[in-house]
């Protein structure tokens, strides 16, 4: 476990030649692999995952249940039990290596530089402590402040996340809060120390649409204010479209498609992403998009399929010559648009998507008479093609480490 960690640290230093500066990504995940040895075998929850997130930017991670979204994010805070988890690769938060770090380093990072909003606010708050106390505890842990001052900050934070009468609700217990309020309390707890990095694990699931919108707005406001890097995990491509600068699509513990949000949502190049997009209504702004669930079940993480792990469910296997999909794992390679990468053997994915997939999934996006795409989509496509034209042979990224699987949540710079 120490070898890759050291290798990662060295690679980082050589790469940048200096400690992490303002301009470098705040979060760097490199070749992260997370495995859980169990009685039934080794659960390969995350395999060879790499991504970076810059300060002030948002990376959206999508993928169906069990694809490794939470497991990979918990690794960023070093929350996995070292005794029951095999970790390798490198994770650097603000230049600090997390994998293999001692407890002291992890503690000063957690809740301070990097905070996490957990998936289930119902169980993630301690039932026996008042909400305000739990928030104040996080503040006091990292700042030399009095109890009264910590309480004041907790009230302030609850107020800012939109809890009405925060100064009296601060003494409520979690069970006295509604689901949405608990979610806000979780957010308040995560933000109380103005973290540079915020990981939000499905912060809006199980909330109604209005509350969901409020919470997303809140996160964006806070990001504006503090310039934090955000990792937003979600099942919901609508959320991605709204908040993410870049997208990472995960399948079976691997990155299968990554890139700028606009490129991924307009012209995805990997059949699993097509499936995801088709199963979400109204992603491109069109109404009445058919909801087509992805047939089949998620891959086993104990015995992953050979070749492309999506092949048992992929409707396009036949378009790849020979047995390639079943035998060979595709690399994460450059797609049409710069910064956009996909893990798929298909040679003409754009054509298949526009001619076959889109008309079936979203007939509204096709003009009935001409058979052409509707003008809005045309415009978006042209924009993307324009960008592609401007940077025809863009390399995987200036700060990208070796190893191909890499996403960057940073604005494309000329």
């Amino acid at each position: 476990m120490t070898a890759p960690e050291q290798a990662g640290a060295t690679a980082g230093t050589m790469e940048f030649g200096r400690p992490a500066a303002q301009d470098d990504p705040y979060l760097v995940v490199e070749n992260l692999t997370v495995q859980f040895p169990t009685h039934d075998g080794i659960v390969q929850a995350v395999t060879d995952l790499s991504y970076t997130v810059r300060s002030g930017q948002t990376l959206g991670i999508v993928g169906e249940s069990g694809s490794g979204k939470s497991v990979s994010s918990m690794a960023v805070l070093g929350l996995h039990n070292p005794q029951s988890t095999r970790l390798s690769g490198s994770i650097r938060v603000g230049g600090t290596e997390v994998i293999g770090a001692d407890q002291q380093t992890l503690r000063s990072l957690r809740g301070n530089d990097a905070a996490m909003i957990f998936q289930d606010p119902l169980t993630a708050l301690h039932p026996f402590y008042a909400v305000g106390k739990q928030i104040a505890e996080a503040a006091r842990m990292h700042n030399d402040i009095s109890k009264a001052e910590a309480r004041r900050r907790a009230i302030d934070m609850l107020d800012r996340v939109g809890i009405p009468q925060a100064s009296s609700r601060v003494d409520d217990y979690p069970h006295q809060f509604s689901g949405g309020m608990r979610q806000r309390a979780m957010i308040a707890m995560a933000l109380v120390n103005n973290p540079q990095l915020l990981i939000a694990d499905e912060p809006t699931t199980a909330l109604d649409v209005t509350v969901q919108a409020q919470i997303l707005d809140l996160l964006q406001d806070l990001q504006q204010e503090y310039g934090s890097a955000i990792v937003m995990i979600t099942h919901d491509l609508g959320v991605i479209a709204e908040v993410a600068d870049d997208v990472l699509v995960m399948y079976g513990g691997r990155a299968v498609e990554t890139g700028p949000t606009k490129a991924i949502l307009t012209l995805p190049e990997m059949p699993y992403t097509w499936g995801l997009l088709s199963s979400v209504p109204d992603i491109t702004g069109a109404t009445d998009v058919r909801l087509i669930p992805i047939p089949g079940t998620p891959p086993s993480l104990l015995n992953p399929p050979t070749g492309c792990s999506f092949h048992p469910r992929c409707p396009h296997v036949d378009k790849v010559p020979g047995e390639l999909c079943r035998t060979t794992l595709p690399e994460l390679t450059q797609a049409t648009h710069p910064g956009h990468r996909k893990r798929c053997h298909l040679v003409n994915p754009d054509e298949i998507y526009l001619k076959e997939v889109l008309p079936e999934a979203a007939p509204d996006l096709i003009d009935e008479e001409t058979g052409e795409l509707i003008p809005e989509l045309q415009v978006q496509l042209e924009e993307i093609q324009q960008e592609t034209h401007d940077h025809p042979t863009k390399a995987p990224g200036r700060s990208a480490p070796r190893g191909g699987d890499h996403v960057r949540a940073d604005p494309e710079k000329p």
Binding site: M74, L77, L79, Q83, Q103, L106, R107, S108, L109, R110, G111, N112, A115, M116, F118, D120, T123, A124, L125, H126, P127, F128, Y129, A130, Q134, E137, A138, M141, H142, Y173, H175, M186, M189
Partner: protein
């Protein structure tokens, strides 16, 4: 909370009344000649008849219960039969309010007997309680923190052993070696706490350990399970994600959650023990309520049996109320009402 307590106390009292009726019927109505046990094997028919009337066994069960109830509320006199009292006024025993009956086996009021024996059993129960809670919780937590390691296996293994050996065996072992052979402690002997607290402790130590061991074994395993379960809770992960130290995560967040089930279980266990531990009392020759109840059953001493049963029942009822009140204090989600 006050209104709740009052309600619970009233329903507890009602429950005791019902229980007393049930015990009366179970015991008094089941044996056709309870006076036989009181009178002895060489009783002439006349003596038998006198005994029967002296104990009031000649009356229907419900009338006997009525007298018992009256005695408890207002006091009564023994022998039960008025003619017998008139015939030998010098033998009349006054049993004041709170009267639980008169034991002919011991020729003493039941209250006096219990009052004599109860301090012994309570001392034993409380000192055992302290040992088993302290040991059980500490070792349980230690085992959980070192889960799967040698120290965990040793603790779990030893607790299994303590659980498997019968109490009388452990008691005799301790008595023989620790007290007699090695002379590490003095021979166990009960002395009154108010007389000499030091002697009280030193005399109690072996019986208390003996009684505590089997409970401790159970509490080690329970605590270990509770701690492990709690440590996998989401809110413990949240606590770690805040950057709290391990000491705070375990000593505060985890233990706070483990406390709730432990309080409930230990309160009820203690209540059950207050009424005596027959085996431990026998091994160490402590004349507590445990031995008293054993003798009462042997001799078919009905008033004594009923008195002890009701005493134990009231312990359990009180413990239930106390535990529920504590629960409301510990767990903010619990609302009394």
């Amino acid at each position: 909370m006050f209104a709740y307590t009052i309600r619970r106390v009233i329903s507890g009292i009602l429950l005791l009344v019902v229980m007393s009726v049930v015990t009366f019927y179970l015991f008094y109505a089941s044996s056709s000649t309870p006076e036989r046990f009181a009178c002895g094997p060489k009783c002439t028919p006349t003596q038998l008849d006198t005994t029967k009337r002296a104990l009031g066994y000649d009356e229907p069960t419900i009338v006997q219960w009525g007298k018992f109830a009256k005695g408890f509320v207002a006091g009564r006199e023994f022998p039960d039969d008025e003619k017998l009292r008139k015939a030998a006024p010098e033998q009349v025993v006054e049993c004041p309010r709170g009267c639980l009956g008169y034991s002919y086996g011991y020729s003493k009021p039941v209250n006096t007997l219990i009052k004599d024996k109860l301090p012994i059993s309570v001392s034993l129960a409380i000192s055992a309680f302290v040992i088993w809670i302290a040991g059980g919780v500490l070792l349980g937590i230690t085992a959980a923190l070192f889960k799967g390691r040698l120290i965990d296996k040793a603790i779990v293994g030893l607790s299994l052993l303590a659980f498997a050996f019968p109490t009388f065996f452990i008691g005799l072992l301790l008595l023989k070696f620790v007290a007699i052979r090695w002379g590490i402690v003095e021979l166990p002997k009960y002395s009154d706490f108010t007389d000499n607290p030091f002697l009280w402790v030193s005399g109690l130590i072996l019986p208390a350990i003996t009684l505590a061991l089997v409970y401790m074994a159970g509490y080690i395993r329970m605590t270990r399970a509770f701690v492990l379960e709690t440590m996998s809770e989401d809110y413990i992960r949240t606590a770690r994600a805040k950057g709290l130290t391990r000491r705070v995560v375990i000593g505060k967040h985890t233990l706070r959650a483990v406390l709730t089930p432990l309080v409930t279980l230990s309160g009820l266990d203690l209540a059950g023990l207050l009424g005596g531990a027959i085996i431990t009392e026998t091994v160490f020759n402590f004349n507590g309520v445990g031995k008293l109840s054993f003798t009462a059953v042997q001799r078919y001493d009905l008033p004594l049996i009923v008195g002890i049963v009701l005493l134990l029942a009231s312990f359990v009822i009180v413990a239930n109320i106390v535990v529920d009140l504590l629960y409301a204090v510990i767990d903010p989600r619990v609302r009394l009402g």
